[in-house]
């Protein structure tokens, strides 16, 4: 009976050889597959609806998503840095994150001759290492039922007088520091004056939420009545019935730009270029404005007037749009996070 389960040396070696042969079986070259690292949820769904299905699939591209928030995806890019072939072809990141991963030597310097649609890009959305796909601005959100006098500036919104009606989003620490800095006489290149203001707000009872969604929920239940957020998100929340109004702050409107960069070790670089080009098609850009409330990053997109009125900025407000100082933020990010975690939250 035991002989049935007894292996001889030849059998064992044969089995091992078969296993090794199986492991060494060559993977098929996936020339037409594009692996896209992106946030999940609505954003991923809209990428499929507005870019992949209408513009890439008809040309034979097969798009596969690697969905996660940006911190784990950036950690994965870093972990794969030494690999000749990475696991993604293109990564969706904010402009600040694109700057970071470029500093870390993780992303390819783009050859714009391979992206014909890039000729229509707004210059501020064009980086050597990535492209802005959508943008919005950080505005003040308030509930007019509770806040009777609309705040007109970051100084009036991020104010200890708001007490526990002020909500702050933990993952938005960079923008919160920038806005508080601007409210206290600083700028996107100098956030230091805002620290004291934030500490005073916290002392006065300001509530801190872990995510954008938790903040929206608190706005909905009227636990809080004022805060700052991208205008595009505010439009989505208004559509969802959350009672909020928006104001472009007097001090300026810090821009939020989200786009795509290509890892240096992307296995399918032609696929990544095809994706970058497709995302800049006017039809895709217009659809993102309608579906998600973000502004197009190209000059030849035609957004319906009523949508433009809700998501865009007036010519006066456009003058106040300010880009972040990505170099300053990247250089000091660890120190800012330390201050945020230990002194502000701690």
């Amino acid at each position: 009976m035991s002989d049935l389960f007894t292996l001889r040396r030849r059998g064992l070696l044969g089995g091992a050889a078969a296993l090794a042969a199986g492991a060494a079986w060559p993977a098929h070259a996936e020339d037409k597959r594009i692996v896209v690292g992106t946030w999940g949820g609505d954003y991923s769904r809209l990428l499929a609806k507005n870019i992949e299905k209408p513009l890439l699939e008809p040309k034979g591209w097969d798009v596969v998503k690697d969905e996660a928030n940006d911190p784990p995806r950036r950690a994965k890019m870093l972990a794969e840095k030494a690999l000749r072939r990475g696991t993604s072809d293109i990564q969706g990141l904010s402009a600040a994150n694109m700057y970071d991963v470029n500093q870390q030597g993780l992303v390819e310097q783009l050859d714009y001759s391979k992206i014909p649609n890039a000729k229509n890009l707004i210059p501020a959305m064009k980086y050597p290492y990535g492209i802005g796909q959508i943008y919005s601005g950080k505005v003040i959100l308030y509930n007019p039922k509770i806040i009777k006098r609309a705040p007109t500036s970051f100084a009036e919104a991020i104010d200890p007088k708001m007490g526990d009606k002020l909500g702050i989003i933990d993952i938005q620490y960079q923008y919160t520091l920038v806005a508080a800095g601007m409210a206290s006489g600083g700028s996107p290149s100098n956030i230091e004056p805002g620290k004291e203001r934030l500490l005073a707000c916290k002392k006065a009872g300001a509530r801190i939420y872990p995510s954008n969604e938790a903040f929206a929920q608190a706005m909905k239940t009227e636990e809080i009545a004022v805060g700052i957020m991208w205008k595009a998100r505010a439009v989505q929340w208004q559509n969802a019935g959350i009672p909020i109004e928006t104001v472009a702050a007097k001090e300026g409107v810090p821009m939020y730009i989200s786009g795509f960069a290509m890892p240096k070790n992307a296995p399918n670089k032609p696929g990544a270029y095809a994706y970058l080009n497709a995302m800049l098609e006017p039809s895709a850009q217009e659809a993102f404005a309608v579906d998600m409330g973000y502004n197009p990053t190209i000059t030849n997109a035609h957004v319906p007037a009523d949508v433009q009125k809700r998501i865009g900025f007036t010519p006066e407000e456009e003058k106040r749009l300010v880009d972040l100082d990505y170099g300053y933020l990247a250089k000091n990010d660890v120190a800012f996070q330390d201050w945020w975690n230990k002194s502000f939250k701690g």
Binding site: S2, F5, T6, L7, R8, R9, L12, G15, P71, P72, R74, A75, L78, D100, Q103, Q104, D170, I208, Y209, P210, Q217, A218, T221, E223, A330, K331, D333, V334, A335, Q337, N341, K342, K345, G346
Partner: protein, 290 residues
């Protein structure tokens, strides 16, 4: 070579072939990453470029133990783990005893009811608690509806919420560990104690406790380790102001991309968990021998 000599060698090969894959799998998937992580924890970190620098230094470990922010996170983690384990034991023991001793034909349904929470992932379960604990959640709406409170209680994003959440996750592990051991204890030894005049408390302390000790140890160790390493529950129910070790490790790796310090925190968490577990084990065993 004789057939008799060939057989033991064949059996050895068989044994190697059977245990080999699992051993290699464990070695490669557990020890190799741990070794790499430990090596990373000795590296330096450039804060301006957020990149790891090759080095052999204990700076990360020194940094952890000299910064009150991190030591307080460790203290909170140990406190939450001890408290939730103690509650799991106190609540779980009577339940495990009833399940072990019941003669009901619905016993299997009872066991399924205990295991049922494990069918749902930690994150989903925490999301459920968020609905219950929120300012307009089930608890607050109920209490305010009954006129017992005027302002909603602050439960969400507090230590209370985390402890309740962890207890809910860990209780089935404690109950199942205790129930399987209590079931193996002959009912007649308890009856013998009673027939000799022992009150219930004495019977518990002198008979049931020593005999159930292996299950108690298994249950407490299991729930303690799970609580020490809890991630989803403290992250979702504790909120941004609450600090426990596992979310701290994640934050260092992903948010700050500081792998050396993240690695050091991970090893400190592992060492403290192992140390406390071994110490508790030895302490209980020594008391039992006495």
């Amino acid at each position: 070579m004789s057939l008799a000599a060939e057989r033991p060698r064949g059996q050895l090969l068989t044994a190697s072939a059977l245990i080999g894959p699992a051993t290699i799998f464990v070695a490669v998937s557990l020890f190799a990453p741990l070794a790499i992580l430990f090596r990373y924890s000795l590296n330096d970190f450039d804060k301006t470029t957020k990149t790891m620098i090759e080095a052999v230094t204990g700076t990360n470990y020194v940094h952890f133990f000299t910064d009150p922010y991190y030591t307080s996170a460790l203290a909170t983690t140990v406190e939450v783990a001890l408290l939730s384990t103690a509650v799991c034991f106190v609540v779980g023991f009577p339940l495990a005893y009833v399940v072990a001793r019941t003669q009901s034909r619905f016993k299997h349904l009872l066991i399924i009811a205990i295991v049922l929470p494990l069918f749902v992932g930690n994150a989903v379960r925490a999301a459920g608690w968020m609905v219950v604990f929120g300012n307009k959640g089930f608890v607050n709406a109920g209490l305010m509806g009954l006129g017992l409170i005027e302002k909603p209680l602050e439960i969400m994003f507090t230590e209370k919420a985390v402890i309740i959440g962890i207890i809910a996750v860990n209780l089935p592990f404690m109950v199942l560990s205790l129930q399987s051991v209590i079931e193996g204890i002959d009912r007649s030894v308890e009856e013998a104690a009673f027939s000799l005049g022992a009150p219930p408390a004495t019977m518990f302390w002198r008979v049931l406790w020593p005999l159930a000790l292996p299950g108690i140890l298994a249950g407490t160790i299991l729930t303690f380790i799970l609580a020490m390493n809890a991630y989803a529950t403290p992250y979702l129910l504790g909120g941004p102001l609450f600090k426990m070790m596992a979310p701290l490790v994640y934050n260092q790796f992903t948010q700050q991309t500081n792998w050396p310090f993240g690695g050091a925190i991970a090893f400190i968490l592992m060492a403290v968990t192992l140390g406390l577990t071994v110490a508790a084990n030895l302490m209980i065993q020594r008391r039992t021998i006495r």
